[in-house]
């Protein structure tokens, strides 16, 4: 299978109803979640199956490819640092 390019997710919190459906379909291991019952938004996802985006009842998840963030390495490092806090 072709390896997909890692993505970083953004959640439109204004529409999110904190329902956890995106987490329930997500094949990532334990802990790939945010404090608001959504999939993680502070780390890249290397599986990139996009099922989380599909299941969302209000379609409020979007993504950027990691390569699009090139040159913004510090952004990702900053995001990851938030996670370990």
């Amino acid at each position: 299978m072709q390896k997909r390019e890692p993505v970083i997710f953004q959640i439109g919190w204004n529409a999110c109803i904190n329902c956890g459906a995106c987490v329930a379909v997500c094949p990532q291991g334990a802990g790939f979640i945010s404090a608001f019952d959504t999939i993680a938004v502070n780390r890249p996802c290397d599986i990139a199956c996009m099922m989380c985006e599909d299941i969302c009842p209000v379609t409020t998840i979007s993504h950027q490819h990691l390569s699009e963030l090139n040159g913004k390495k510090e952004v990702i490092e900053w995001l990851q640092a938030q996670h370990t806090k």
């Binding site: 109803i17 329902c19 956890g20 329930a24 379909v25 299941i55 009842p57």
Partner: protein, 394 residues
């Protein structure tokens, strides 16, 4: 290094929904030392449930129906096909001596307020002797050499470790506890209904749970109109996203504006917005690991035809609490091998029937011809809720 005193429990339950609170209550009633934790500040909120539950489900667990959590009494069902033809199953008509509003008669079920219902169930667990910590998130667990396990928690920002013989994952749809033990818990996109519902004013209801089938309104799932007490109603639906390009929100708008109910809905005002995912899946094939069992939505204990999960969460909690108390009293080691007994017990009492329902559901949606599929779903729903259904009690 100085180690502070580590609290020790017989069981620690993560998640105080119907499954976790019931497991905790039953285990505490039977004499176990139980800790029940939930990360929320108010149980049941934000609501991700329509709250329909049978009277039988409550009675079975010794839960007295109370105004504290009941929005409205329910007396039966109306099942609609895509065009709006219906099969009405009103128990006030079918068994007028037993069901109704009058003296000595009773309802078939209820629509409950999950905020109040979950709080009530937690209070009952606490009264039975369970220690309850809110604002406490489960972070992970670690089986130990001595046969117990450490459970890592965060309570109001403070990291706390407790010791327990068994950890119960009752952490609902977005469950992480199973993943901690490496269990494969994620649900297929084709088996998780994406749901949205509005609590509305100005839509009349009549004590019946109305279920609307049809690919046009809710592909892979169904739409519903439930009475919600105080003159309010609940309009919602669930769709399977592998069967359509549109999301649940789009379908709900269509259903309200274009369906055969559009006249009935034309003045409706939205009072609350809720939603979530409903597994129309089979129960997890493995619901246990060393020092660990799963119950309720976390184990995908949901009726795959109706999507109902309150009754199965309550029953699963009863089975888990009862099993663990005799298991631990017999001094058995909580290894994965020994805890398999819980799943066996669960399958015997409940699970085998749920597998059968899953097969029935799978058969319906395997039908390629959409009109045939719709017809099958309508017929299955209609017979499911009829008085002589073999599945009446789940």
């Amino acid at each position: 290094m100085h180690k502070t005193h580590i609290p020790v429990f017989d069981i620690v339950v993560i998640g105080s929904g119907p499954a976790g609170a019931t497991t905790a209550r039953i285990a505490a009633q039977k004499g176990l030392k139980v800790l029940l934790v939930d990360k929320r500040q108010e149980l049941g909120a934000p609501i991700q449930c329509s709250g329909a539950v049978s009277r039988h489900a409550l009675e079975e667990l010794g839960i007295t129906p109370s105004e504290e959590f009941i929005h409205e009494d329910i007396y039966g069902f109306s099942i609609y096909n895509q065009q709006g033809d219906k099969t009405e199953i009103d128990y006030q008509r079918i068994k007028p001596d037993e069901y109704g509003k009058g003296e000595g008669k009773k309802p078939l079920g209820y629509v409950v307020d999950r905020r109040r219902f979950d709080r009530y169930l937690m209070a009952q667990a606490e009264r039975a002797g369970t220690e309850v910590w809110l604002k406490t998130e489960g972070l992970g667990y670690q089986p130990l050499e001595d046969g117990t396990c450490e459970v890592h928690l965060r309570r109001f920002n403070q990291e706390i470790t407790v010791k327990s013989k068994v950890l119960v994952g009752a952490d609902g749809l977005q469950s992480q506890v199973g993943k901690w033990a490496g269990l494969r818990t994620h649900i297929k996109l084709s088996e998780l209904a994406s749901c949205l519902q509005f609590i509305v004013d100005k839509v009349e209801t009549d004590g019946l749970l109305e279920i609307v089938t049809g690919h046009q309104w809710a592909p892979g799932g169904y739409a519903w109109v439930f009475p919600k007490g105080h003159g309010y109603a609940e309009i919602g639906l669930g769709v399977i996203r592998t069967m359509t390009d549109q999301n649940a929100q789009w379908y709900l708008d269509q259903f309200i504006q274009k369906s055969f109910f559009k006249e009935r809905f034309k003045d409706c005002r939205i009072l609350e917005i809720q939603g979530g995912g409903v597994p129309l899946a089979h129960p997890l094939k493995k619901q246990y690991a060393d020092n660990l069992i799963l119950v309720g939505d976390a184990a995908r204990h949901v009726n795959p035809i109706t999507g109902g999960g309150i009754h199965t969460a309550l029953s699963g909690g009863r089975i888990a609490g009862t099993f663990l108390s005799s298991f631990l009293k017999n001094g058995k080691k909580p290894t994965a091998k020994n805890l398999k007994g819980y799943q066996d017990q669960w399958l015997e009492e409940l699970g085998n029937k749920m597998w059968k329902l899953y097969d029935e559901k799978t058969n319906i949606f395997r039908t390629k011809d959409i009109a045939r599929q719709d017809e099958q779903l309508y017929n299955t729903m209609s017979s499911y809720f009829s008085p002589d259904s073999e599945y009446k009690k789940i």
